[in-house]
Symmetry: C2
Subunit: 210 residues, 2 copies
């Protein structure tokens, strides 16, 4: 199958959505927890999380104008904090359900049975069922005028990972933690490690890390 | 393990790099092919690719100032085109090797044995060994001043996927295609599907897609 700059825009809308969403490879799957100024809790499915830097610790997400994330964006703008929660096989269906278009004020926690969980100093809700979770402070909001999406850059201000999955070098074994990855708009996957590889240098072949 | 806004910046540099790079979950792993105005070919490992929209078809990557991607950024700015190539288990070690800091002008294709491949109208090199590949036209370059990275937004102008992996609905079965995902700075994984789930609606439970 080959498409080019003239045939891509001519594809049927739903077909193109599936194709282009699959094309980028496997994606991070997370639930983003926020709180409205009224106290109402919101939980939204995201697959656009990306790493921006470790020093300072920054990450980005893309919020689309037409998704339930419109609540997420409002809350992120107003409250300046949000949580990011990994998904495990035990609740990936509930995570997918959080992408449904609930009315403003309806809580995805109540609708799916996932439980909000709070820690000191973070006023946005975490997901109790999630084992790897962190929180961000809103650092910068950049409108992407090309397609009316919004890039939200957050500074990581809280990290919680069970000790058993954190190596001496800081690496988190997401596979042992059973973190789920996703592809396309609706496909969910667990993983099998090929290897960890040594730091690459021009003058020598890479080797497997233990 | 718990860290907060004061302990995160105080972590040992390499430990923090591993931790924060793992924290975002599984990532898309791709090789980005570009060409210098002199004709020299460049191939760089990226794990920051994210979906921006399907109509128009847009995706984003983050280019760091200190990585070999500095060549990639130059080429993307000058030549306005770049290719994005999925990685299979057969050559994930070569893909990792492309993250080594080669001198400007040294070709990662030559260094790793991967083969450049050209199609009409795209002047940047694809990876012959890759089975799912696409090309972008540079649409917008946004400096992220917070940490001197750069967001490159590309419009997808060419897509090539073997028919056997594309469903009637446009979904690409990346798992059948053996596309590799990565975590942290150096860990590579294949996947096992849990399920594809039906479009989520507030008033009904999700079901498995066939």
């Amino acid at each position: 199958m080959i498409h080019n700059h003239t045939s891509i825009p001519a594809l049927e809308k739903r077909y193109r959505a599936n194709l282009i969403n699959s094309l980028g490879g496997f994606k991070s799957l997370v639930l983003i927890g926020t709180r409205h100024e009224s106290g109402a809790e919101n939980l939204a499915t995201f697959s656009s999380l990306f790493h921006l830097g470790a020093d300072p610790a920054l990450c980005g997400i893309i919020v689309r104008p037409t998704q339930p994330g419109i609540n997420t964006l409002h809350n992120i703008q107003q409250q300046k904090q949000y949580t990011i929660n990994h998904v495990r096989p035990a609740f990936y269906r509930e995570a997918h359900q959080c992408s449904a278009k609930y009315l403003p004020g309806e809580s995805e926690f109540e609708a799916t049975g996932l439980h909000p969980y709070y820690v000191n100093s973070i006023h946005a809700p975490f997901v109790e069922e999630s084992h790897i979770r962190f929180a961000c402070e809103t650092e910068k909001i950049i409108p992407i005028e090309l397609n009316e999406t919004t890039l939200v850059i957050g500074r990581i201000i809280y990290v919680e990972v069970p000790d058993e999955w954190v190596g001496a070098d800081g690496f988190i074994d997401l596979e042992k933690a059973n973190t789920v990855t996703c592809s396309g708009l609706d496909s969910y996957h667990t993983t099998s490690r090929l290897a960890r590889l040594s730091y690459a240098k021009p003058d020598r072949p890479v080797t497997d890390l233990p």
